[in-house]
């Protein structure tokens, strides 16, 4: 009987955890667990999100666009399939790109000055709300010596 209780207790614990994850978006205070991330919330396609993510390297008048979105798996913070739209990550994303290889690859061979910048532009609209435009800039970090 003790073993049976333990097994039912384990099952209850598991299902309680699943319920807790699912209830996060609806219960104020619970969302401190993975804030803003929809893990376990199962909120697929809840909102209509129209978004454009543009990434470029700019140096004075010159600019080269590159596919910075490839650096984010599933474009997680701007996708209709997910409930966790996170435009606040634009600044962090620009910081990440400025140090990564994608932006440097775009700038390679172009003779960019030390003032070259990575620019991330996010234009998005959620449902019928007004369009929002965000931009973040970071100086392109020099390539690390090999």
């Amino acid at each position: 009987m003790t073993g049976e209780r333990l097994r039912i207790g384990g099952l209850a614990l598991f299902l309680g955890g699943v319920l807790l994850l699912g209830a996060r978006p609806f219960v104020p205070g619970l969302n401190t667990l993975w804030p803003g991330c929809a893990i376990g919330a199962w909120n697929m396609y809840r909102s209509r999100v129209d978004a454009r993510l543009l990434t470029s390297v700019r140096d004075g008048d010159r600019e080269v666009y590159f596919s910075g979105g490839e650096a984010i798996w599933h474009n997680a913070f701007i996708l209709t399939a997910h409930g966790d739209l996170r435009p606040d990550l634009v600044e962090q994303f620009a910081e990440f790109l400025s140090r990564g290889s994608l932006a440097r690859a775009a700038a390679d061979g172009q003779g960019y000055s030390p003032d070259a910048e990575v620019v991330v532009e996010l234009v998005y609209r959620v449902n019928n709300q007004p369009e929002v435009r965000l931009e973040a800039r970071r100086r392109l970090a020099p390539a690390e010596p090999r």
């Binding site: 039912i8 699943v18 199962w42 396609y45 984010i72 599933h74 910081e95 990564g100 449902n127």
Partner: protein, 347 residues
């Protein structure tokens, strides 16, 4: 009925069915891993900026660990699929998926969360404990698996109780390739329909009288979403495969197939993992008995058998078809990605 008896009733699997389900889920784990590689996840993770704030120490993990973990996931899924130390490798796959989610939690996919939650349960499918009428760990794991699928449907439906979603604008976006998306009333009706379907599935899969309808509703939902929105189907294959746990064993009502001992039918019998046919070897001719007049002759019996499969298992046939398609598709993508990304030169 006590809670324990209820869990035993709903969670008890015959060993062949448990093996079949484990092989299928292992295969899905393998497809998931191939998808991760094919879509460039090994290289494309957001780096330290998207790491869970809980686990700052994991920022310092060596660079090889991430692709290493994904390779380990592929090997684990394969081991689960073929039944080699399946419990151990199912647990390893689950842990690896949790690692990916925790270290790179913005990189998540809803399907990955389902994998991370389900593989630890799969690891317990082989735990028998007391056996007989007593509640076993395996019963609890199977019950938990089924409840997990229901809860996903439930929360998906709850999340759709939203004025914007029900107005149809989300579906309008997904179906923008079609002129039908301009019909606001139709989009709203589809939105309500998808909510109703998910709420229905959360409950109906557990009710034997509604189960067959539920399978067909689920098949429509899980084929309709990716086909209409032109999105991937893998997430939906998880659910269609999960229906296997809800399939009732036919018991004494299965049609009888009598076959000569030396015929090829004995090989088919070995493939009937779900016991959908009562196979009886003997000295008489090949005969099919399913309530009406017996049918004999190779072609007639073959047609009857195929008909039984189509009628009894429309979901299984659909899933089997897409398993084949995705196995080829994802393997090709993963291979192309590995070749194009220069893993060979990096090595």
């Amino acid at each position: 009925m006590t809670l324990a008896r209820f869990i035993v009733r709903e969670g008890r699997l015959s060993p062949p069915k448990a093996r079949l389900f484990r092989a299928c889920w292992g295969f899905l784990g393998l497809l998931t891993t191939l998808q991760m590689i094919g879509w460039g996840y090994t290289d494309a993770r957001g780096g330290g900026f998207f790491v869970s704030p809980w686990l700052p120490s994991l920022l310092a993990v060596p660079a090889w660990l991430h692709p290493g973990i994904i390779a380990a996931m592929g090997a684990s899924a394969l081991a689960v699929m073929v039944g080699f130390r399946a419990s151990l490798f199912a647990a390893l796959f689950g842990l690896s998926m949790w690692y990916v989610l925790l270290v790179d939690y913005f990189a998540f996919h809803h399907g990955w969360v389902l994998m991370a939650l389900s593989f630890p349960l799969l690891a317990l499918f082989g735990r028998r404990g007391g056996g007989g009428e007593a509640l076993t760990t395996a019963d609890c794991a199977v019950f938990g698996f089924k409840a997990l699928l229901s809860l996903v449907y439930l929360f998906a439906a709850i999340n759709k109780l939203d004025a914007d979603f029900l107005s149809g604008i989300v579906l309008e976006r997904l179906l923008m390739w079609s002129p039908l998306s301009q019909n606001a009333a139709l989009m709203s009706a589809l939105a309500w329909g998808s909510l109703a379907a998910e709420a229905f599935l959360a409950v109906a899969l557990w009710i034997p009288k509604l189960r067959r309808v539920a399978f067909l509703v689920g098949l429509g939902l899980h084929l309709g979403i990716p086909l209409l929105s032109q999105a991937g189907l893998l997430f939906h294959l998880y659910f269609l495969t999960g229906y296997l746990l809800f399939v009732s064993e036919p018991g004494g009502s299965a049609p009888v197939l009598r076959y000569p001992e030396a015929s090829a039918a004995r090989w088919l019998e070995r493939l009937d993992w779900l016991g959908q046919v009562d196979w009886r070897a003997g000295s008489g001719p090949l005969t099919w008995e399913a309530g009406g007049a017996p049918v004999s002759g190779t072609w007639r019996v073959g047609v009857a058998l195929a008909g039984r499969l189509v009628v009894a298992h429309p979901v299984s046939l659909t899933v089997a078809w897409f398993y084949g398609v995705y196995a080829i598709d994802f393997s090709r993508d993963a291979l192309f990605y590995l070749l194009a990304s220069g893993w060979s030169s990096a090595a």
